[in-house]
């Protein structure tokens, strides 16, 4: 074993220990609890669950809604990717940031916003008597809202760097405008397109908060079903089988995604994006720009605007009544004033961010050299928590971490730990491409000038990765702030986080609860949006990856 491999393994030890202890162990514990009875494995239960017709329904719905969401997102966001990649227009930078806001918004807020738009007493209901909640359309539209940025960033980021002269070469050789796009640009974009599509499929396949709030009793994804079986029916064997099923599906998706990403780091002639965009010319380009702005307005901005409007709307006209109510406990829904959830959330998210940076940062440094040896595939492994049922993780925490020496059940640290689990993969994804892009000869230049390996890392890698590090921190913070699936299990009743408080308020009837939920969601949205807009200024210009 070479010395550098030893160093990398040592660096990787803490992240691996973290994931083993706070991910693998709890998940294994809950699966084991479900599949073992009286000291014996009962795999027969799996067969029973898998042949249950109700489950077949859930599985079918999970798959087709994910496929439909992906198709719809791609169809609506591809023109957007083109517009952001190739056209210049006033306010482009701001709009680029605005488009990304939904992605970091907590699912609960998204659910609440769409409820305010499409639900009972929502905007469309008031205007035309149209209600889409409890229909699959609400779910699909919310998924588009969520993932629009994934496509625009992943595909558009690459598109902006493709050399337009390639298409021009095809035109000169006799290809029409569309033929040139189809034969030259589309094949170059294909891997990014596939990667983005797969990512959207992954996110919608494991969708929880959106479906939970908008799906009503009729629609349930696998993840929602796991929550129902675990939290409401206390049917652990069924939940365990479902968890394993989802785990397998997600692992397969991640393997395919990893392949696509590796292929994408390939051999395209890329250019500085600033040089490829131009002002719209001709009727078609103006129409496209108009269409994209309309879609963004209707699908991305409107729900958020309605959310804010509802939070301000009271029986006596507009006012801050709901916001004021956040400071009291009159409604009795929560044990504490909802306003306190803001402080709690910020505190937890800050701690989670520190943990995620440590864990994800060490992992990224250890994996900087593209692994051919034993470390190959570890980075894909670190993505697993993103796709694993958060509900399972949360519940797993409760059962697995309740005995000495690891009795964290009553510790507040439990929530940040769970949130860091979701944040760390984002940190790895943000740092790894930047660290890998650092020319190894820069490190060698430092070594020749007398810098030890550690000093060379500090002097060369760290300054170059500083912006990515800040971006990673921001993403981890926003994601931690919005984490719902796991937190809902482990947050203590006297210290709910923002998403948990919103969900509780939404779950209770009454005008005041609804208004407060909207007000609290607005606060959460603002915190996330401010974080993201601050990051937009820092984001490395060449990054093409959402994740």
């Amino acid at each position: 074993m070479t010395r550098s491999l030893a160093v990398r393994l040592a660096l990787l030890a803490p992240p691996l220990a973290f994931f083993a202890l706070f991910f693998a162990y709890p998940v294994a514990a809950i699966v084991g609890r479900g599949l073992r009875a009286d000291g014996a494995w009962r795999f027969g239960a799996a067969g029973e669950v898998l042949t249950d017709p109700d489950l077949a329904g859930v599985l079918w719905f999970t798959c087709w809604q994910a496929a439909a969401s992906t198709a719809l997102t791609l169809a609506l966001a591809l023109p957007g990717a083109y517009v952001f990649a190739r056209l210049d227009f006033p306010g482009k930078r701001l709009l680029h940031a605005v488009v990304a806001v939904p992605f970091v918004l907590p699912t609960v807020v998204v659910g609440a916003a769409f409820l305010a738009l499409l639900g009972r007493g929502g905007l469309l209901d008031e205007l035309w008597g149209v209600r889409l909640d409890n229909t699959v359309w609400a779910i699909l539209l919310a998924h588009v809202f969520f993932n629009y940025a994934v496509v625009v960033r992943t595909v558009g980021g690459l598109w902006a760097q493709l050399d337009p002269r390639q298409e021009e070469a095809a035109r000169v050789l006799g290809a029409g405008r569309f033929a040139a796009w189809r034969r030259v640009t589309l094949p170059a974009l294909a891997p990014a397109l596939a990667a983005a599509g797969l990512l959207v499929f992954l996110f919608t396949f494991t969708s929880f908060g959106v479906v939970q709030i908008l799906g009503g009793p009729r629609y349930a994804t696998l993840e929602v079903e796991i929550y129902r079986q675990t939290a409401q029916l206390l049917d652990l064997p069924t939940a365990a089988v479902l968890t394993l099923l989802q785990f397998a599906a997600v692992a397969a998706l991640l393997v395919v995604h990893g392949r696509l990403v590796r292929r994408r780091e390939g051999t395209l002639a890329l250019r500085d994006p600033a040089t490829t965009a131009h002002r719209p010319t001709g009727r078609a380009q103006w129409a496209l720009l108009g269409g994209v702005l309309t879609v963004i307005g209707a699908l991305l901005v409107l729900p958020l605007a309605v959310l804010v409007e509802r939070s301000l709307s009271t029986p006596d006209g507009y006012g801050l009544t709901h916001y004021r109510a956040l400071t009291g406990t009159e409604s009795g829904t929560l044990a504490v004033a909802p306003w306190e959830a803001v402080g709690t959330s910020l505190r937890y998210a800050a701690v989670a961010t520190v943990i995620a940076l440590l864990v994800g940062g060490l992992a990224a440094v250890a994996l900087t050299r593209r692994g051919r040896g034993p470390l190959r595939g570890v980075d894909a492994l670190l993505m697993l928590p993103l796709g694993t049922s958060a509900v399972t993780v949360g519940f797993g925490f409760l059962i697995a971490l309740d005995e000495p020496p690891l009795d964290l059940r009553s510790s507040w640290l439990l929530v940040p730990l769970a949130q860091a689990l979701v944040g760390a993969p984002f940190v790895v994804r943000a740092l790894l491409p930047v660290l890998r892009a650092v020319d190894d000869r820069l490190r060698q230049a430092a070594a020749v000038l007398g810098a030890s390996p550690w000093r060379a890392w500090r002097e060369v890698d760290l300054p170059l990765a500083r912006r990515a590090l800040l971006v990673a921190a921001g993403f981890a913070f926003a994601v931690s702030l919005g984490e719902f699936g796991a937190t809902v299990f482990i947050a203590r009743a006297d210290s709910p986080t923002l998403p948990v408080a919103v969900a509780r308020l939404l779950g209770r009837p009454g005008e005041l609860n609804y208004g407060q939920a909207m007000a609290l969601s607005t606060v959460l949205m603002l915190v996330c949006a401010v974080t993201l807009l601050a990051l937009e200024r820092l984001r490395p210009a060449r990054s093409t990856e959402m994740l």
């Binding site: 020319d439 000869r441 820069l442 060698q444 230049a445 430092a446 070594a447 020749v448 000038l449 007398g450 810098a451 030890s452 390996p453 000093r455 060379a456 002097e459 060369v460 300054p463 170059l464």
Partner: protein, 363 residues
């Protein structure tokens, strides 16, 4: 350029052979799938400038990396000032390396780049600033400390890279294609400046290049490499006058190469009979005829050739000839006397411009 940064140590008496400062013995480097260096032996004396010349893939960059400790040596020893470098990590070897494309640190300004090696050696800050200013003067960029490196032209980057490499006073300064990416005009100027600078500083230099003009202008001694082995070592004049073999001659750009049988001072070649230098033994040989050794003549009975093309080379014209017998020939010809394309000329050969090479051996 009159500020001498490092006084030349005067421990070396003129004319006496200096002890090797850098010494490679049987150095072999293996990469997965191929061997980049095959038991290379090379000594570089103190204050000497040695240029390693060779086509790409000949192992010349690997040679530098082996000396710097950036690549593992499978067998053989690298000694610097007598000390075996096996197991010594790069940052403790005290060598300097100027990378092919400079590899300036993008996040640091010019001053930060030049100061880097001094900071690594914990040189006190005022001393660092003084040295940085001195070096920037030396390379012709006075006062450039605060400039961003991405605002520099190629030639300026090259100067900063040189200042950065010189700053810690390395025992051996290594240059990897030092002028590779610069335009020709700048290269010709910088090569002279570098030569003057190294002489002035007494720096020991091991440089690598694929450009023979650069190597001959810069070096006290030239090392020609082929497929991981040293093909020839010698002064620029020696190598140019007497290429050691077919490969070196071909690499230096000579095209008039042929097999020949020599008997009593005359060689039988595909072009006809050629006079050879008087001392040549009878038997089979490989011959190189320099373009300047191919003379045009109007004499009766001389072998004839057609002028296929003419290339202007500044002070002469290079003629590409298609002889009636034998393969293509190149001939150097004074500007005023060059025949036109398509003309037929008679050929004569000058024995002093014919070089006898060993029979081509397979490597």
């Amino acid at each position: 350029m009159d500020r001498v940064v490092e006084a030349v140590p005067d421990g070396r008496s003129a004319g006496a052979p200096a002890a090797a400062l850098l010494s490679l013995d049987g150095v072999t480097v293996r990469y997965p799938g191929h061997t980049a260096l095959h038991g290379v032996a090379l000594d570089v004396a103190e204050h000497e400038t040695v240029c390693v010349l060779g086509p790409s893939g000949s192992g010349k960059s690997t040679l530098l990396r082996a000396v710097a400790g950036l690549t593992d040596v499978a067998s053989g020893t690298v000694r610097i000032a007598g000390g075996d470098q096996a197991g010594v990590p790069t940052h403790r070897r005290g060598v300097g390396l100027m990378f092919q494309d400079h590899q300036l640190f993008p996040q640091r300004d010019v001053g930060g780049n030049v100061a880097f090696g001094l900071r690594m050696r914990r040189v006190p800050r005022p001393e660092v600033q003084r040295r940085v200013a001195e070096l920037l003067d030396l390379v012709g960029l006075p006062g450039a400390q605060r400039r961003r490196v991405d605002s520099l032209s190629g030639g300026e980057q090259q100067r900063v890279a040189l200042a950065r490499a010189l700053a810690p006073r390395p025992a051996v300064l290594m240059l990897d294609e030092p002028l590779g990416q610069l335009d020709r005009h700048l290269r010709e100027r910088l090569v002279v400046e570098l030569r003057e600078l190294f002489r002035e500083l007494g720096t020991t230099v091991l440089a690598v290049t694929h450009d023979q003009g650069e190597a001959f202008a810069l070096a006290d001694r030239v090392v020609v490499m082929r497929e991981g082995r040293i093909a020839q070592v010698g002064s620029p004049v020696e190598v140019w006058r007497r290429p050691a073999d077919d490969f070196v001659a071909g690499f230096l750009g000579f095209r008039n190469l042929t097999d020949a049988t020599v008997a009593r001072g005359v060689a039988d070649t595909p072009w006809g009979e050629l006079p050879v230098p008087a001392a040549t033994r009878d038997g089979r040989h490989r011959l190189l005829v320099r373009p300047s050794g191919v003379r045009l003549t109007a004499a009766e009975g001389a072998p004839r050739a057609t002028v296929r093309a003419r290339t202007f080379r500044g002070d002469h014209v290079l003629l590409h000839l298609a002889p009636e017998r034998g393969p293509a020939l190149e001939a150097a010809c004074a500007l005023g006397e060059a025949p036109a394309e398509g003309d037929t000329v008679g050929l004569a050969f000058d024995p002093s411009e014919v070089v006898v090479l060993p029979i081509a051996s397979d490597w």
